[in-house]
């Protein structure tokens, strides 16, 4: 068994350890993406609205 296989096997607990880390990445990464996308969209809309202001 290679070093990578050994690492991925997590001593037989792979099916518990990796879902925990995957969920962390999905939840926290999801929040990060959603937060930044919304922020950029509002920033653009605000710039646009201020440019059009007489």
């Amino acid at each position: 068994m290679g070093a990578l296989d050994h690492f991925l096997a997590m001593g037989g607990y792979a099916r518990f350890v990796w879902p925990a880390y995957a969920l962390a990445v999905i939840v926290l990464g999801g929040f990060a993406v959603e937060t930044i996308v919304t922020y950029r969209r509002r920033q653009r809309a605000l710039d646009e609205a201020e440019r059009r202001r007489p």
Partner: protein, 238 residues
């Protein structure tokens, strides 16, 4: 804190500190993940499954800390009517709910191989589940009114009432016989876990904290911009 109640001041201040928060978040989470997955030793009883703790414990810590911050912001909003405080409380809630969900699921993933069950109705697990529902209830309540200020007021009261759950979570492992283990880090007499595991845990917890602070600030800025946008559009329509 009082100067930050002014939205313009908040925008200036947050723009200055945000880049630093973002850089620190990336560094801490990168180092934390590396330490948790490669450097920290397997536990002599739990084997490699102990690595779930490096997600579970920081998530649990954030779940309760974010609630305390949300309640504090709610109190400030109720007492002093600070416009930014209401927004701060509202924007903390989904992040807190996310951390709580992560805490519950990662705990469950550890419980199955170690306890032999995904879930038990013990005091610690149940009180954290109640915390999750408090977050959801708060979010639903805030958006349940046509007038946003009334929703914010009702939400703030719910957030403050829910604070009673925080000591219940903290002391549940002492007050009741729980399957969940007692505190091993924040306890009288110092931590009982090995230093080789405490360091990765501390860095992951700091990383989670900085991630929350960064996202919280961006979300508050985002909400302030949305409010300004609404005001501008009303002006133009008039």
């Amino acid at each position: 804190m009082f100067r930050l109640a002014n939205p313009n001041r908040f925008m200036q201040w947050s723009a200055r500190i945000l880049p630093w928060c973002a850089i620190l978040t990336v560094l801490l989470l990168g180092a934390g993940l590396y330490l948790a997955l490669f450097v920290a030793p397997p536990d002599y009883q739990q084997g490699e499954s102990v690595r779930i703790m490096y997600v579970h414990v920081p998530a649990a810590y954030m779940a309760t800390t974010v609630y305390a911050l949300m309640a504090a912001a709610s109190a400030v909003a109720l007492i002093w009517r600070h416009p930014v405080a209401d927004i701060a409380a509202r924007e903390a809630a989904p992040l807190g709910a996310g951390f709580t969900l992560l805490c519950l699921v990662s705990g469950s993933l550890w419980g199955k191989p170690m306890w032999g069950t995904w879930w038990v109705w013990d005091a610690r697990l149940t009180s954290v589940l109640v915390l999750f529902f408090l977050y959801l209830g708060y979010m639903a309540l805030v958006h349940a009114f046509d007038e946003p200020t009334r929703g914010a007021r009702a939400g703030a009261i719910l957030a403050l009432v829910g604070v009673v759950n925080l000591p219940i979570i903290k002391f549940s492992v002492d007050w009741w016989n729980t399957l969940h283990q007692p505190a091993s880090i924040f306890r009288l007499g110092g931590p009982t876990i090995a230093t080789s595991m405490l360091w990765p845990l501390a860095i992951m917890a700091l990383g989670f904290t900085l991630l929350f602070v960064t996202l919280w600030l961006v979300r508050i800025r985002s909400a302030l911009m949305a409010a300004k946008l609404r005001a501008l559009r009303l002006q133009q329509a008039a």
